[in-house]
Amino acid sequence: MTTETQEPQGSEAARPPFYRDVRVIRVVGQLVAVIVVFGIAYWLVNNLISNMNRLGISTSFDFLFGPTNTAIPYHEEFAIRSPVWQMSLVGIKNTFLAAIFGVILASVVGLIVGVSRLSDNWLVARLATFYVEFFRNIPPLVLIIFFGFAVFTFGPFPIFSESWELKLPGSDDTLLIINNDRWGVPGFTATGSLVLFWVILAAGIVIAAYMWRRRTKHFEQTGQPHHRVLWFTGVVVASLVVAYIASGQPLDVSWPVISENRRRVDGGFIANWGWISVTFALGLYTASHLAEIIRGSILAVHQGQSEAANAVALSAFQRYRFVVLPQAMRIALPPTINQYLNLVKNTSLGTAVGYAEITALTKTSVGNGRPAFQSFIIVMAVYLVFSLSISLTLNVVNRRLQLESR
């Protein structure tokens, strides 16, 4: 820019020598930077590969198709001769399970605690402050180990053979099984093909989304109440019922049952101690950070907004729901994305309680002679994909939430 203003008309004769020409320097500078970065990366990787070759360590990814030869904790259905990539898939699934339930738990608890910190009720506000200060000042690894060992190993729960069983009143079905190793709750089991079920349900969700937009438009044009949540839920529930009946009732409730020898839980949905520890520890830890983000965001909404809401006689709930929170959410979202990403990455600490997520399984497989470098390249790629998909999704949401006028 400066060059162009200094030079009248930009005539060829008046141009400075190329080494002082900003346009040239810019291009050359970027080129050099790119070459240096890639050069260093190439040098590092090449060094690594040649050192590995010298020591006779394989640099190929063929090991992924060799047999795993090991069992996966709490996956008795996993055949020990399955190829290594199938073991990685189990790890990815477990990482996902811990992350998704952790995010849900963190969001719910974080919102409640964050709003409670601003409560006028002395006790509620103090309890929320205590929660935040307690959880955010303890490293997540310590929390995971605490949950794993203080709650399960040394905690109040009975050993497997003496599990607590909560029966459904007036029935033989078990609602809840609890011991110091795994918990069982009722789940669903497929009795037929689920393809038709999912197709109809997906169609239902598309229709519901369409109804949402239609109701919104209707509201914008006429000012009549949109009731879009009601419409949306109604259509989804209706399509669930239609899908279930039309596809021949392919789902059945599966009740957890303790096996004859009292060493196995069959049926139902089973949560093992590692998963529970990781989910709760990370969920509650991240919630303490989210609570602070939400509190700060609410405080960042201008006082005048609340006063205006009071002036038009909105109730306290309405003030939060329609005036304060929608504006606070806009501020809260970007730092919240960071917390979600941290939570996903922190699931790798689950290895401390033997939770079979991708890092733990990879460490096991490396210990058993699989090449460390290639194995961890895959782990890195997995976390990268997880994190990038979260930030991509939430960035889209963030962009849509921002005020158009800003």
Partner: protein
Amino acid sequence: MKITKLLAAFVALMLILAACSSDDDAAATTEAVAGEDGGGDGDTGGKLAAVIAADKIVCGVNDGLPGFGVVDDAGVYNGFDIDFCRVVAAGVLGDADKVEYKPLTADVRFTALQSGDIDLLIRNTTWTATRDGQEGATFLFTVFYDGQGMMVPASTGFTTLEDLADANICVLSGTTTELNLAAVFGARGIPFNSVVFEDNAQLNPAYQEGQCEGWTSDASQLAAFKSAIEGEGGEDQFIMAEIISKEPLGPVVSDGDTEWAQAVEWSVMATVQAWEFGLDSGNIGSYAGDNPNILNFIGTDNFNPGLGLPSDFAVQVVTQVGNYKEIFDRHIPAIGLSLEGGPNNIWTEGGLMYVPPYR
């Protein structure tokens, strides 16, 4: 679209990687020569000289396994494996105390060896084909013949592996034990669930609190923990008679340096040779006989087979640390295992401890 750019960069990096791994050997060798300035450690033929120049041996060990490698209250390393680190230091450097101990977990031990962080790995490490082939490791003389066993609380009355059908079984992650457990139970069709831990400090309480009904590990480790648990007033434990695997444990060095490997191996084997000759820390220094083999062994008249070791290395090893039996008796009976009748006895008494002649 920053993310697209990031992805593109990542893909580019992967492509470079792929290109590198398909490079032929010729390119790799030239690079290896060029890389010597940076690496230094583990280069062909250089380790022995490097160790002597540094005047200490960096030894990767276990710091939480009674009998084999523990740190006592004063911070001193102690144990069967530790003594063999000292044996190598005495043989190569003439002073058993010139060892720097690096405590390692099971899953990083080979990486530490490959990277040259440690010169020597003596950490109850089982010699297997995959480890020999894929970890760039050279396994040397087996100093302890172990086997995997199964421990259960005595009160359960279990005596066979079949009694543990469907049970939770505690095991350390990243060990051959984990593989054997899956292989043996799989072969016999016994369903089970493994509960894995990173180290025994976590596994032990989980087992004692009944989260697992069985604990599988090398028999020597189980014996050590059995005596520890019972000594602390815990429940009585029972180790099943069945041994389900071969676990030869010994020192490990990095591939590609035979000179260093030989120096380590002969230092270690000197302890067995001394035992066979009837020499121990008390009498080796004052040997007055005329057995030519023994005279060679203790380096009389500067007999030196050219292993790169001082001619009196055997004397240093045995006076400073002891012969094999002395080392064994110092650590292993305390954890409930004996030399007699086992595979770790000398070959003349029916054991497997047999070394090539020193001449």
